[in-house]
């Protein structure tokens, strides 16, 4: 895997997909994110790392406005995708989220069949005009999530009956099915065993050929394995952002170094 990544290391030529400028997030009285500015590139895996409670998940949820569902969250600053401000009043979060998909920490398949889980997004967004197209989207998505071979014979079985790793890949397939441009992953492997984790990590590496992937992880090894760019968060600040290899081998900020060497976190 390491050698595969070696020739994909060059990400500078990809253009910027998401750009944030001076983002502040408040949870009630709590200042959760302090002035974060960064540019996330297309067709790249970007990892957010940092000790728990550092705000990396909060920041991730700003990128597709999932924080809207929390009453007390307040966001300032600017976040734009393809140059369009996502907090512009004209933006419908529903459309935004179709473009910026999300995979959650705990696998959360709906209590429906595997097929219906994946078909849910295309159905609500009207991506398929007939049953054949829908079948095709479902199959493609399951293939892209590298789970097709395991479930193709039991598409009508409930999604909740799969193992944890399969459930998470099903959730990835579900997110892929709405043909997003960005995939946000909030610690997607934290509830999985090592084998399932390896499968999902492999999948993430494949996904970057089509999508801009942003992954929050508490595991530095995982960030090193799957990402090209890494941002380190600490107590709501984004401390350092750069090429993954640079961050891990030659951190600029003493806090990053302390975290990487295991002295904070």
């Amino acid at each position: 895997m390491k050698d595969v990544r070696a020739d994909e290391r060059d990400t500078t030529m990809n253009d910027v997909k998401i750009e944030t400028k001076g983002v502040q997030v408040y949870y009630g009285e709590n200042h959760a994110i302090k002035d974060v500015s960064l540019a996330i590139k297309d067709k790249t895996v970007t990892a957010f790392i940092g000790p728990s409670g550092c705000g990396k998940s909060t920041f991730l949820r700003c990128l597709n406005r999932m924080n809207d569902t929390i009453d007390i969250a307040r966001i300032e600053g600017e976040i734009s995708i393809d140059g369009e401000d996502i907090y512009d009043p004209r933006v419908d979060p529903v459309q935004l989220r179709a473009k910026v998909g999300m995979v959650f920490q705990k696998p959360n398949p709906f209590p429906k069949s595997i097929f219906d889980n994946v078909a849910y997004g295309p159905k609500i967004h009207g991506l398929a005009s007939n049953k054949a197209e829908l079948d095709e989207i479902v199959e493609t998505s399951l293939r892209r999530a590298a789970i097709w071979d395991e479930v193709k014979d039991r598409l009508q079985a409930p999604g909740t009956g799969l193992s944890g790793g399969q459930q998470q890949r099903l959730c990835i397939a579900r997110a892929v099915a709405t043909s997003p441009e960005v995939l946000l992953m909030d610690e997607p492997c934290s509830a999985l065993d090592p084998i399932a984790t390896a499968q999902v990590e492999e999948l993430i590496s494949e996904l970057r050929t089509r999508y801009s992937v942003v992954i929050v992880t508490h595991s530095m090894q995982q960030a090193a394995r799957v990402s090209q760019k890494t941002a380190f968060f600490h107590l709501g600040d984004m401390v350092e952002y750069g090429e993954t290899d640079d961050i891990f081998t030659n951190p600029q900020d003493p806090r990053t170094e302390k975290y990487i060497t295991g002295r904070i976190g």
Binding site: I81, D82, E84, I86, D88, R90, V91, D92, V94, Q95, L96, A98, K99, I124, H125, G126, L127, E136, I137, E139, T140, S141, R143, V176, A177, S179, E181, R210
Partner: protein, 444 residues
Amino acid sequence: MTAIPDTPSRPSSILEADARTRKRNAAEKRFRMYGLGAIFVGLTALVLLLTSILMQGLPAFQQSYVTLEVPLLEDTLDPSGERNIDDIAGVISFGYNGLIEQAVEDAIETQGIEIEGLDDPAEIVSNQAAAQVRRFVLANPERIGTSETFRFLTTSRVDQYYKGQVTMASAERDSQISPQQLQLAEALAEAGLLEQSFNWNFVTQPDASDQRPEAAGLGVAILGSAYMMLIVLCLALPIGVAASIYLEEFAPTNRITDIIEVNISNLAAVPSIVFGILGLAIFINFAGLPQSAPIVGGLVLTLMTLPTIIISTRASLKSVPPSIRDAALGVGASKMQAVFHHVLPLAGPGILTGTIIGLAQALGETAPLLLIGMVAFVTEYPDAPPEGFFDPATALPVQVYNWTQRADPAFAERASGAIIVLLVFLAIMNITAILLRRRFERRW
């Protein structure tokens, strides 16, 4: 692999909503409106229910009274002139009717009222009047021969006339009142002899017969309900708390415990009328307790309230954290001591709240009481407890039912009035429960 188009079919800009999104957002708005509409309907129903009851029932607290000077004629009341109380008591209420008639005619004369075609002017006074005068005379026999001023209830027809339920036109067709009698009432009102005032008797007096709706009151019903609540409190609270303590703190996980638990949750959902059948079959037919007695009502309501109290008590016991029990056991208390010295006092406010809510439920319960004979027509107050528990009585909600079954429309107003009294009691109980909960609510 057939690909999903890598360039999505949706518009590239997120700043403009496409047609489908607009449609979906409209559906969203509609869905929201359904929800809001449902809440609106629910609240409207509540408002309609309460206002209609209030509108119909509030007049029951106002009653028309007529003030008359009644000559207590010696030859009618005490022909022998010996003031022998037994002789005076020998004149039954019926014998006093002439005096009332006389009093009304006197009033017409002194006020100079002239109404053409006026028959039976005394009909505007309640049938209750004769009994009222008789009671006075028996208490004050020395007044015989003088004349006394009395404040009588008018008949319900005159009263309803002032409340807008009886009109001149309806009086035309009514055998119990004539338009001329209503004119007489108007004339007496002008002279200041007939007026409306607050009617305490409605709350304190016992029920009255079909012919005297104006005199019917809630006294016996309130007393009966109070007795039953007392019985429910004295039985359901200790038994319910004991059962909850056993189930929550001591019960081993076995078959018997399971059966008891399933039993309790099912009992909570058994239709109340089934408890009435139980009361009738076991307490009255088998155990031979008297019908219509608060003791039977109290027992039936106790059995009905027990599951409610047990469920809420168990919830309060459960909310006391195990660390409290551990702390007590850790200093060498027995399990029983840990529960009675620490857990129970901490759960106390919750238990009390649950008990009050259970009592409120029991207070409003009607159906089982119908079956154990509490619909009876009772005009005598029950004695003081404990003997009074075995005397016939009615209960507030049953009195409401009873009055709805009477022919005279004036009883509808009284039924609604009784509901107001019932709701006031319920409101007091529930507000007490809420305040208790607020005051003692403890977050662990």
